[in-house]
């Protein structure tokens, strides 16, 4: 078990690309999974918590997702998208499963728990890039037609099924799916060339 040396190797790994980290994870490098957590654990937890609205459940979901990456790094092929996409897709899927597995829907209007502040990741370059990416994504979302944006948000962050959305927005199921497709494609077009993916 390494303690001090692990921290040092993690610090070094912070500067490596996602693909390099994944290769190291595949080789069993614990520092690499720690570095990946440092990089994306925040987004993963924020997403999970937004959906399940429960701290313990959100932590379970995030842990499951990273363990999945730890076990299955070998089966991931970079040609199918980025590591971040893979990780957040697992988080989203697991969080939705947990949400729907419980009796009733956890209301989203409960106040956020007090979260322990984490010392900022020691990589201000990532901070700069992330800030730019956040701005671009938010601006792109804002340009989507209201109906499409709302549909996507209800599904992605609210965990609503297509039937629940249809009921909430009082439109047919086909319209819900159509708005999802057009909205996501439009978003994809807006994000193209901005370096997000």
């Amino acid at each position: 078990m390494r303690i001090g040396p692990l921290d040092e190797s993690v610090a070094v790994l912070h500067a490596e690309s996602d693909e390099v980290l994944l290769a190291a994870i595949h080789r069993g490098d614990e520092g690499a999974i720690a570095a990946l957590y440092d990089r994306y654990g925040g987004l993963a937890y924020g997403l999970a918590y937004r959906i399940v609205n429960d701290r313990g459940t959100a932590e379970d979901v995030v842990q499951d997702a990273f363990m999945s990456v730890w076990r299955r790094a070998v089966s991931f092929q970079t040609g199918r998208g980025s590591v971040r996409t893979w990780l957040l897709s697992i988080v989203h899927h697991r969080a939705i499963d947990r949400l729907r597995g419980t009796s009733g829907r956890a209301r989203r209007d409960a106040p956020l728990d007090e979260v322990d502040r984490v010392v900022a990741v020691d990589d201000p370059w990532a901070e700069v890039q992330l800030r730019v990416q956040r701005d671009v994504l938010r601006q792109s979302m804002a340009t989507l037609p209201e109906a499409q944006r709302r549909t996507i948000e209800l599904a992605y962050f609210g965990g609503y099924t297509q039937h629940e959305i249809a009921s909430t927005m009082d439109v047919p199921i086909g319209t819900v799916k159509g708005r999802m497709r057009i909205g996501l494609q439009k978003l994809r077009g807006l994000l193209a060339g901005t370096g997000i993916e």
């Binding site: 999974i33 957590y37 987004l43 201000p124 700069v128 890039q129 901005t194 370096g195 993916e197």
Partner: protein, 292 residues
């Protein structure tokens, strides 16, 4: 799934369509919003549809950006969870055969389209600012007569001392001129703000003279340089690595090249006189440039 005939397409290219994809099944599936009988039916369809598989890969990448819209205060990873994760990882070393129940993770092996990587732009050729501080013509090249030698020397010293100031004045003149022309030539000029990072200090501005393919960077309040250090400018393309774009000592610098390819400008402190090939420290000042 039906194939469009050639006369439908017009250009002779075959285009395959999928009714499921067209009706948004792939999108709903990506958002985990598909439910009921349609979910089961679509899963069966997915087993044999490359079109849907490709659309899911593409839309999944887009959907994975949505967490970026969360507030920064929400996206803080619990430190206790990090320790818990590392503990779990230690008790389950890679390569160990672990019997796990089959998960419902849908990242299956049928995705067939590779996401194209962005092209890396060529490095910007930037003239180091240190060249500009050479000052006026060297003394040896000036014709002089003895009676005027001292006068000439005095003029030379004064001019050399003013060299940097002269360059600064010229730059400031350009900045003033650029600002004065701003209303008349908005398309030719764009101004972006630079802000201090957590590790930095000061503020700055990038004035992009599009017609001339130049930008003027003005800064103030930066952390002071130690002897032998310089400020270095970095241009960062979307999703790419920082590229050096010149060094400077004072409160202003020029950058030449096609700024349109870059998304971010950052400044670090590097060893002089020419700076570094890659940043050796975190940025002290940064800002978004280019179209938003």
């Amino acid at each position: 799934m039906r194939m469009l005939s050639e006369n439908e397409m017009g250009n002779g290219t075959e285009l395959m369509e999928c009714a499921f994809a067209e009706r948004g099944f792939a999108a709903a599936y990506t958002l985990n919003a598909l439910d009921g009988e349609e979910l089961g039916a679509y899963r069966q369809h997915l087993a044999g549809c490359a079109i849907c598989a490709a659309e899911i890969v593409a839309l999944r990448a887009t959907a994975a950006q949505l967490p970026l819209s969360l507030d920064e205060a929400e996206t803080v990873a619990p430190p206790a969870l990090r320790a818990r994760l590392l503990e779990a990882v230690r008790t389950e070393p890679r390569g160990a055969a672990v019997a796990r129940p089959v998960t419902t993770d849908r990242w299956d092996g049928r995705d067939s389209v590779a996401a194209p990587r962005g092209l890396r732009p060529a490095a910007v050729g930037a003239r180091p600012v240190t060249e500009r501080s050479e000052g006026p013509t060297p003394l040896s090249a000036r014709p002089r007569r003895l009676p005027q030698a001292y006068a000439a020397a005095a003029v030379l010293l004064l001019t050399f001392g003013l060299g940097l100031l002269g360059w600064n004045l010229a730059l400031q003149r350009e900045v003033r001129q650029a600002r004065a022309d701003r209303d008349e030539a908005r398309a030719a000029l764009a101004v972006y703000a630079l802000g201090a990072t957590a590790a930095g200090a000061g503020h700055g501005e990038v004035i992009h003279l599009r017609n001339r393919g130049q930008a003027i960077v003005t800064v103030s309040g930066l952390p002071p340089l130690q002897p032998g250090q310089v400020y270095q400018i970095w241009l960062i393309p979307p999703g790419g690595q920082p590229e050096g774009a010149g060094v400077f000592l004072d409160q202003a610098s020029e950058v030449e090249g096609d700024l349109a390819r870059y998304q971010t400008l950052a400044i670090t402190i590097e060893p002089g006189p020419a700076g570094s090939a890659a940043p050796t420290m975190s940025p002290i000042l940064a800002g978004t440039i280019g179209e938003q």
